[in-house]
Each structure stands twice: as structure tokens, then as C-alpha cells.
């Protein structure tokens, strides 16, 4: 292993590259197919990887514009993809800001302020965080169904209710941010306290500026999590113009109205921004997941 013969090494290298490339081809096959399908004519036709008669029809429709075929036939966009995107982005941004605010303040308290029963609360939070929201779906539906009789703004089919539910994502992030605050030198708090700062002032003027990097990570993670959520949104949202991307995309592949080509274009259009954001953030995600969780 330490002393390797050059010839063996070369064979090994070729093998490694070969294996990786074949594997990559298999893994990336779906993406290539989708790109090809989005330029293909019609919604059913099967064809080659390189479309024979490339058309922008599906892309024009995905952008919400009617498309005129060569035959003069005008096709209306089947679903409001851009509106769904806007819904997803709006809900994602508001929920992320909310989660961030609550999680940062709580994490600071858990890290620095002496509170009775802190250990128990932290353990409790950690245990609760592991319960998937899917367990509560029936109740979430029942609660908001009852609430919609009181105020429609907080009922079914309301973005506000959806955002409120997403706020429950704070638990994991309290832990992540607390791990970060724990690594801040205690001398800083003491200096602030000697200057007469209250705990809130210490938080506001010392810890908050320090926490900007981890807050950015938490923000991106929450945003991605919210945009990707399907179960909660599908239970709460019913009308087509209120849907988020995750709920709406499913309509394309309905058994009775199978819009494969239109779906491909819409999927790339909506998936690309999230993918790019994720690729930029993924480095932090992994360190956050494996370290933040273990720091106790």
C-alpha cells in the first residue's frame, strides 16, 4: 500500500476512474433524460436522447405563456408553475426567518443562561425533534379544520397556517446553534457583564454578530426543508392557486392527464435554483449534522 509498483498503480487508477464514470453515467441518467424530454415534442412521444425536432413548447408553457404550434394551434399552460414557485419561496423565506429568530434566542439561553431544568428541557427537545411531523398530520388537519370555522386566515388552504407549522422545525436548529454558541469563549460574556450589559444586550451586541455564519447555514437549511416538504402542505393546501411546488408538481403525472414533457420543463425550472442553493450550502450542512448533533 505504501510502496506501489507504477504499473499496478496505473491499472488501479484506470479502474477507479472507469468505475466512477460508469456509476456517474447511471446516476446522472435521469437528469439527462429530463433535459432531453423537456425539449421533445408532445407529452407522450418517446425518442432519442438528442431530440430530433427540438421544441421550446414545454418551456414556454412552464413560464406561463401560451404557446402557438406551427399548425396555428394555441396551447394554454396547464398549471401556474411560476405562482407555485412564488408560493414556495414566500412561505420558505418567512418560515426560515421565524425559525431563525426563535432558534437563535433559545440557543443563546440554553447555552449561557442558568435555568432550572435546562438539561431535562434540552434532552426533551432532542427527543421531540426525532418525531417526524407525519405522526401529527391527522391532528394538524383536525386543528386547522376547526380553526377555519373561527378565522379562515388560520384555517385550511392558508399560507399562514402552513408557516406556523413549519416553525416547529426550530428544535433541530436550537441544537445546531447552541453547539456554536458553546464554542464561544466565556470571557466575552464576562467582559460584557462587567461593562453592565444585561443578558439581552449581551445577546444582541455580542452573540448575534458572532453567529452570522451559522445563522446563514440554518437559514438555508430551513428554507430547503420547507420548500421540499410534501406531506404537511398536501394536507393543508387544497386549491390550485395556493399550492406550493411540491404539492403542485404531482398534478402533472396524473393517470388521466399525463403531461410528461410539460413536467420535465417545469421540474428543471423549479428544481435548478434550489439545487444551486443546496450545492453551495452542502459543505456546512454535513458538518452541522455530524458535529452539531454530537456536541452535548
Amino acid at each position: 500500500m505504501i510502496v506501489e509498483r507504477p504499473r499496478d498503480l496505473r491499472i488501479k487508477k484506470i479502474l477507479a476512474h472507469g468505475f466512477l464514470l460508469v456509476f456517474l453515467a447511471l446516476i446522472l441518467f435521469p437528469f439527462l433524460m429530463v433535459i432531453s424530454i423537456s425539449f421533445r415534442e408532445g407529452n407522450f412521444t418517446t425518442g432519442d436522447l438528442l431530440p430530433r425536432n427540438p421544441t421550446l413548447e414545454h418551456w414556454v408553457l412552464a413560464f406561463g405563456q401560451p404557446y402557438t404550434r406551427a399548425s396555428g394551434e394555441v396551447i394554454q399552460p396547464p398549471y401556474p408553475v411560476l405562482l407555485w414557485m412564488w408560493n414556495s419561496i414566500k412561505i420558505g423565506l418567512i418560515a426560515s426567518v421565524g425559525v431563525l429568530a426563535v432558534a437563535t434566542v433559545s440557543a443563546y439561553a440554553f447555552s449561557r443562561i442558568r435555568i432550572r431544568g435546562k438539561g431535562v428541557m434540552l434532552d426533551g427537545l432532542f427527543l421531540i425533534q426525532m418525531f417526524p411531523t407525519t405522526l401529527a398530520l391527522v391532528a394538524i388537519y383536525a386543528i386547522f379544520d376547526a380553526l377555519s370555522e373561527v378565522t379562515p386566515a388560520l384555517g385550511l388552504d392558508s399560507h399562514l397556517s402552513l408557516i406556523l407549522i413549519y416553525l416547529s422545525g426550530v428544535t433541530l436548529h436550537i441544537w445546531t446553534i447552541k453547539g456554536y454558541f458553546d464554542s464561544v469563549d466565556v470571557a466575552l460574556d464576562k467582559a460584557a457583564a462587567i461593562d453592565g450589559a444585561s443578558p439581552w444586550q449581551t445577546f444582541r451586541y455580542v452573540f448575534l454578530p458572532l453567529a452570522v455564519p451559522i445563522m446563514a447555514v440554518v437559514f438555508v437549511l430551513t428554507f430547503i426543508g420547507v420548500v421540499n416538504d410534501y406531506p404537511i402542505a398536501s394536507v393543508l393546501i387544497r386549491s390550485e392557486d395556493k399550492m406550493t411546488l411540491a404539492v403542485g408538481s404531482r398534478l402533472y403525472l396524473n393517470e388521466f392527464r399525463y403531461l410528461w414533457g410539460d413536467f420535465a420543463a417545469a421540474a428543471i425550472l423549479s428544481g435548478l435554483p434550489i439545487t444551486v442553493v443546496f450545492l453551495i450550502a452542502q459543505r456546512y450542512l454535513v458538518s452541522g449534522l455530524s458535529e452539531g448533533a454530537v456536541k452535548g
Binding site: F19, V105, L127, F131, A136, L137, V138, V170, S249, L253
Partner: protein, 469 residues
């Protein structure tokens, strides 16, 4: 009540100096309690009720609905005509010589007007012109001077309406049709006749352990439940094994110092993780499509087979695992790359010097060192896949169906998707039964969470015990 508790909490926390520290934690704890703990408890509580599409309402609402029902008596049908006049329309009943007060006849709005004896109005609308007013006529109730209520019963006629049920006591109704006495039965949440016939709609009542009894004794429920439970465990375990194996293999190759182009491979291999899962799952749904999916086209061209991915239980399960491995391996790969770096290089060198082959070094030195820190994450991954609702719902929606079940259950259903479909599919919303199954899932998840918690604590203790590693 929740609002009250919340207000009390805020007052207590922000009012008292003693609870200064709690001010910071309060919002977080409140959010967790309201949005996670409370719904979970409430779902489980629903498991002890008969909440479903038949028993949706409260008792008061159910009584209201029953009392508002009426049947039109065809023997009393009488023709009518509409007169247009100042302030709206008037209804003219020529047989009785009655004319109504002016009505607006707006569609969808309930309206009532008294009738009074009068002469025939001069300007009557032709029957054809009255047809557009049908919507408004249907919601109109006319009252004769004798107090009999008349409703529209057809294009040309009004008729007397008799209520189907009459309230005869606090807990009893009388059915007009046959004079049967209906008694409110609060143990089942229905009005029942003396013969035991249940009259829908019912209302929500606690039914104790009935739902659990159904799960464990009714053959149509217990059979599929067992199949689904076994499949859920198998699915979650195999998903962890496959993603771990693929992820670790790739991580080991990428860690090889002689390999070039690592950055490119890394980004390309992460892609399945970066694309939103709901999009990739739907893409796979299309690619796997039996009749015109690209995967079957290629398989047929190469090997001459066309597996029926969606109608055969076994191939559907294989497909689910393929897609889940595709979705999940990058996460394991990223984690493995981190943990592999922590394995000391000199251990491996020492083993190699002793003449151990690369494979042997991997299995005796590297693997044992990365398994302990991996364990909690693998348990978490198992728990995640145990409830991997999105994958099942979007890819197969549970199908193909298991034949001979009382409630919709499919070969690829996992417990979570089974519960979801039971509660939210069109075929019948059985919230109560879904709540009962949720309790079972909750117990399983709680056990896993606790195990994970213990494993994490051990990992943390080991780490702090040996800071050098």
C-alpha cells in the same frame, strides 16, 4: 383554551423577574409544544374516537343537520308563475289564489316570503323566461297563511315540505316516514332506531379501545397491517444498508490519494441529494412508467424485458429501493468522507507493513473505527426511512393494492403512508383509525429515538474521553 394558556405563559414569563432566563427559551419551547407535542398527543387522542367522514360533526351540529332535512310531498304539488314587479319578483300560485311578497331570487341565498290571497297579477313571466331564475327559486321557502311551508319541487311547481325528523325530547327524534323513535346513542355516536339501524350523519364520541380492537382482531385490517409493518421494517433496514454500502464504497474511492478530479466527482455524486426530492421522485415515476417510460424502453432494447414496475408487488418494491438508494447514498457518502479522515493513517500503514491486503486493512482497521460514530446516524436514517412518506406517496402511492382488504392498503405501503392514505384519501377519511395506528408508530419511533439518544451520548462520551482521536 390554548390561547389562554399561551397568554398565561407569556404573562408569567415576562412579568416575573424570577423567570428572566425563561424569557429567552419561552418562544422556542412554546413553538415545540404547540406544533409538535400537542398535535402528536391530539392525534393519539383521536385514535380513541370514532372521528371519520361518518362522524365528522359535533352532536349539536348532527342534530341540526337531521332536523333541517325535509322531503317534498308530491301529492301537494301546485303550479306557479313568476310575476315581475317593483322591488323584485312575486310568486303567484293560481290554484290557491295566493301571491307572495317581493323576493330577489338570488342564486345560492336562502330566502323566505309569506303568501297572501290576491288577484292574479297582470304581468306574468312566460315559463321560458322563469327558467333562468331556477337557482333562486330552489332556495326559496314560501309560507301560506295557514303556516304550511312550500318549496320549489320542479320546473313548474311548488309543493309542501315535510321535515324528515321531529325532535320529541332531549335525546330523541321521531322519523316522520314511519313514526319510528330514534334515540341518541352516545357510545357509537349515531341516532339509532329500536331495531339498531344507524342514521347518518353521526357525531364524534370516544369509543375507547375499539380502533385498537379493529387493528388487532379484524382480519381485513390486521392482515394488511402485518404485511405493511414487516415491509416497513425491511424497507427501512435495506435502505440503510444499501445507501451505507454505496456511500462508503464511493467515499473510500474518493479518499484514495492518487485519484485526480476529486472535486468534480464529489459535486457530480452529490447531485441526487441536491435536487429537491419531490422532483427526482416524480422524474423516476415517469421514467419507470410501464408503457412509455424510458427505463422500460432501454431494458426492452437491451434484454427484451419489460418489468411491470407498478402492477407487480415485488418489482414495485425493488423500484422503491432503487430510487431510495439513489436518493440516499450521497448523504452517507458525505458523512463517510468525514469519518474516514478521522481514521489515523499510521494504523493503516502499520497493517500494510505487516503484509495485509488493502481489503483486509479496510475491514479490520478502517471499518471498525468508523462504525461507532456512524451508528447514531444510521439509526436516524432508519427512523427517517421508517416514515419516508414522501417517497411512497409520490412514487407508487402505496400501490399495487393488496386484494381483499377493508381499507386501502398496498404492497409498497409503509405504515406512515398507509395511515396517510387512510386519513386523507378520497375513499374514506378514517381519522380515528389513523390516530390509533399513529400511536403504534409513535411507540416504535419513540423506542428508536431513545436508542439513538443513548448511542449519541455514548459516542459523545467516547469522544471526550479520548480527545486525541
Amino acid at each position: 383554551m390554548i390561547v389562554l394558556l399561551l397568554a398565561l405563559g407569556i404573562a408569567l414569563v415576562f412579568g416575573a423577574k424570577r423567570f428572566y432566563g425563561a424569557r429567552f427559551i419561552f418562544p422556542g419551547i412554546a413553538a415545540v409544544l404547540i406544533f409538535i407535542a400537542f398535535p402528536v398527543v391530539y392525534t393519539i387522542w383521536l385514535g380513541f374516537t370514532n372521528y371519520s367522514s361518518f362522524n365528522l360533526l359535533s352532536y349539536e351540529r348532527a342534530v341540526e343537520v337531521l332536523l333541517s332535512r325535509g322531503t317534498v310531498d308530491p301529492d301537494t304539488e301546485t303550479p306557479f308563475a313568476v310575476a315581475e314587479g317593483d322591488g323584485g319578483y312575486r310568486i303567484w300560485l293560481p290554484d290557491a289564489g295566493l301571491l307572495s311578497d317581493p323576493v330577489e331570487l338570488i342564486e345560492g341565498e336562502e330566502e323566505a316570503a309569506p303568501l297572501a290571497p290576491a288577484d292574479e297579477p297582470a304581468a306574468l313571466l312566460a315559463p321560458r323566461d322563469a327558467i333562468p331564475l331556477r337557482g333562486g327559486l330552489q332556495t326559496l321557502t314560501l309560507t301560506t297563511p295557514e303556516g304550511v311551508e312550500l318549496r320549489n319541487s320542479g320546473l313548474r311547481s311548488f309543493a309542501r315540505v315535510t321535515p324528515e325528523y321531529r325532535r320529541t325530547g332531549e335525546e330523541t327524534l321521531e322519523r316522520t316516514e314511519d313514526g319510528a323513535t330514534l334515540t341518541a346513542d352516545h357510545s357509537v355516536g349515531f341516532f339509532t332506531t329500536p331495531e339498531g339501524e344507524r342514521v347518518p350523519p353521526g357525531w364524534r364520541v370516544g369509543i375507547g379501545l375499539d380502533n385498537f380492537e379493529r387493528i388487532f382482531t379484524s382480519r381485513g385490517v390486521r392482515g394488511p397491517m402485518l404485511t405493511i409493518f414487516v415491509w416497513t421494517v425491511v424497507f427501512a433496514a435495506l435502505s440503510v444498508v444499501f445507501t451505507f454500502a454505496v456511500g462508503l464504497t464511493l467515499a473510500v474511492i474518493l479518499q484514495w490519494p492518487h485519484l485526480r478530479g476529486k472535486a468534480f466527482y464529489r459535486i457530480a455524486l452529490i447531485l441526487p441529494y441536491a435536487v429537491p426530492a419531490f422532483i427526482s421522485i416524480l422524474v423516476f415515476k415517469g421514467l419507470f412508467n410501464q408503457s412509455f417510460g424510458e427505463i422500460n424502453l432501454i431494458l426492452e432494447a437491451l434484454f427484451g424485458v419489460r418489468p411491470d414496475w407498478f402492477t407487480n408487488g415485488t418489482t414495485a418494491r425493488v423500484m422503491l429501493l432503487i430510487v431510495n438508494t439513489w436518493l440516499g447514498y450521497p448523504y452517507m457518502m458525505l458523512l463517510a468522507m468525514g469519518f474516514l479522515q478521522a481514521v489515523p493513517e499510521d494504523h493503516k500503514k502499520a497493517a500494510a507493513l505487516e503484509g495485509a491486503s488493502a481489503l483486509r486493512v479496510f475491514f479490520t482497521i478502517t471499518l471498525p473505527q468508523i462504525i461507532p460514530p456512524f451508528l447514531p446516524l444510521m439509526i436516524a436514517s432508519f427512523a427517517f426511512n421508517f416514515n419516508n412518506l414522501v417517497l411512497v406517496l409520490l412514487l407508487t402511492n402505496g400501490g399495487p393494492d393488496i386484494p381483499g382488504t377493508v381499507i386501502p392498503a398496498g404492497r409498497t405501503d409503509i405504515l406512515a403512508s398507509f395511515t396517510y392514505r387512510m386519513a386523507f384519501d378520497d375513499s374514506g377519511t378514517q381519522f380515528g383509525l389513523a390516530g390509533a395506528i399513529t400511536l403504534i408508530i409513535f411507540l416504535i419511533v419513540a423506542t428508536m429515538s431513545y436508542l439513538n439518544f443513548v448511542a449519541l451520548r455514548r459516542a459523545a462520551a467516547r469522544r471526550s474521553g479520548r480527545p486525541a482521536a
